[in-house]
Amino acid sequence: MEKRVTFKGIWLPLLLVAPQIVITAVFFFYPAGQAIWQSLFIPDPFGLSMQWVGLGNFEFLLSDRFYRASFLTTAIFSILVTVVSMGVALYLAVLADRLIKGSGTYRTLLIWPYAVAPAVAGVLWLFMFNTRVGVVTWYIGLLGYDWNHVLNEGEAMGLVVVASAWGRISYNFLFFLAGLQAIPKSVIEAAAIDGARFWTRFRTIVFPLLSPTTFFLLVVNIIYAFFETFGVIHTITGGGPQQATTILVYKVYADGFVGQDLGSSAAQSVILLLIVSVLTVVQFKYIERRVHY
């Protein structure tokens, strides 16, 4: 028999879950409701009155060239961040998995970047790549390349991708390593005896058996790239040059807080809300039956 604690009455359990409910309500439901409400209005320039426009904000957004460009930027950015951070993490995890001595130290060192807040990471990378005083910029300069992410759109994108992916590698690494270590050693040995060399084994045995982990990380990393990279972009490029690194989340901030276009900003939040909901549903649906072999 499962042992359960049962409460008499409703007040104590209610009291116990109250803090969580209050926090969720204040910091999630209230702002989300506000955003949905505001997305249906256009406020006047002085913020004194609001005019009902229905889905007008959305119509405007979807036909806005800049907004569509931001969608594309976001897609490129999140694909790059996900691929880079997962690729590097998988590579390191495969190395660590083969390592027998000193794997503990190796692992600990790899986890450190995860503890660095995105904004701090941004500043760190900004310093290294600063166009005038950055160490890396200077070395690249010695090689005859003039690094300038303030002006060059491609370089700006590259820098925010690297800075965002960097902090994520640790997290992905831990999951990949755990996934690798869950694969029975004898299965790998059987494949080796069957004639498969390292790369063939990786392609036909290890990677397929790792796919539940990979899929989980894919979703988690896309969500990260969509929403949690604000700090990095804000500190390094501020969305520029032009709009080259203005991803959707950054545009919410730029249009709403800088441009003071609250109606449009709210509509953008609602769209993001929809995107994250879809991603979450996909993730949960998959996790429910993640063992697919």
């Binding site: 299965v187 059987a190 005896i193 004639g195 058996l209």
Partner: protein, 338 residues
């Protein structure tokens, strides 16, 4: 077809040596069983032959070619693991075909070979299933199938039957034996079960703490064990060991007399000097095992024909045997022959 030779094979993990020098020449088509208690180094020995474990010193030769530094895939071997190690994400067919696909065998040839193996192993109805949809016995067959389709020079088995129930184990044992006979592939088979070893082996290696105590034909090993360990390990119930001194023999300090349970006869107490009290008897039908406590406190087991009267508990009997069936072991456990 292949010969395998091990020459003074040793293995150390760090500073501890776990295999202390094993030598054997295995003839083409021979079935060798490595038997011994848990932790004696059977798997380690086999894995060195497979190339899954590095050789610390000595040499492994397959077909007179030293393979110490050859990768497992280049040794022309196949191995059946204790937990079968099937590829969980592949169908039974793909599990068996995997090695052939890597070897770039033509598709129709792959299909032919897998189908043949499936027929021999009665796996035809399951070819499209995943390993988790099979019973333990069926998984075991798939592992066997994976080994035979590749037509390797050497089969290696690491306790392939230990996860099966007793009845299935006996059945699979027979199947493995006849399969190996038909295919004529040189085999090394690891087990801790002495019955498996006795029934399967052309020759067996009895391992004791990293040393090959004895290598020989099963019946030779049984009737003429080289050490006290072998005499005690091979045979069930095990050999009785009695202190030579207490039997009034003066051989050397700590020497023991080994005598197999079936070689002792229970006789009236008056006919012999050695007597014991029956602790309990186990009538097994065809035979009866009688456990006695000798008057000087030592234990002994007697195996006698089931048709003979079963002695009652507490009864005192005399024990007698032919001097020729005695085995004398020195203090260190090695056999003393006169």
């Amino acid at each position: 077809m292949a010969t395998v030779a091990l020459e003074n094979l040793r293995k150390s993990y760090g500073k501890t040596e776990v295999i202390h020098g094993v030598d054997i020449d295995i003839a083409d088509g021979e079935f060798i069983v490595i038997v011994g208690p848990s932790g004696c180094g059977k798997s380690t020995l086999l894995r060195m032959v497979a190339g899954l474990e590095t050789v610390t010193s000595g040499e492994v030769r397959i077909n007179d070619r030293a393979v110490n530094d050859v990768e497992p895939m280049d040794r022309d071997i196949a191995m059946v693991f204790q937990n079968y190690a099937l590829y969980p994400h592949m169908s039974v067919f793909d599990n068996m075909a995997y090695g052939l696909k890597i070897a770039k065998v033509p598709t129709d040839e792959i299909k032919k070979r897998v189908d043949t193996a499936a027929e021999i192993l009665q796996l035809e109805p399951y070819l499209t299933r995943r390993p988790r949809e099979l019973s333990g016995g069926q998984r075991q067959r798939v592992a066997m199938g994976r080994a035979i389709v590749r037509k390797p020079a050497v089969f290696l088995f690491d306790e392939p039957l230990s996860n099966l129930d007793a009845k299935l184990r006996v059945q699979m044992r027979l199947e493995i034996k006849s399969l190996q006979r038909d295919l004529g592939v040189t085999s090394l088979y690891v087990t801790h079960d002495q019955v498996e070893a006795m029934t399967l082996a052309d020759r067996m290696i009895v391992m004791n703490a990293g040393v090959a105590d004895q290598i020989g034909k099963p019946l030779d090993v049984y009737s003429d064990p080289a050490t006290e360990f072998v005499a005690g390990f091979i045979g069930s119930p095990p050999t009785n060991f009695l202190q030579a001194k207490r039997l009034g023999r003066h051989i050397e300090d700590g020497a023991k007399i080994g005598i197999r349970p079936e070689h002792i006869r229970l006789v009236p107490q008056t006919e012999t000097d050695l007597a014991g009290t029956v602790v309990y008897s186990e009538p097994l039908g065809a035979e009866t095992l009688v456990h006695l406590k000798l008057l000087d406190g030592q234990d002994a087991t007697v195996r006698q024909d089931g048709a003979l009267p079963i002695p009652a508990e507490g009864e005192t009997c005399g024990l007698s045997w032919e001097p020729a069936s005695e085995m004398v072991f020195g203090k260190g456990g090695s056999r003393i022959r006169s």
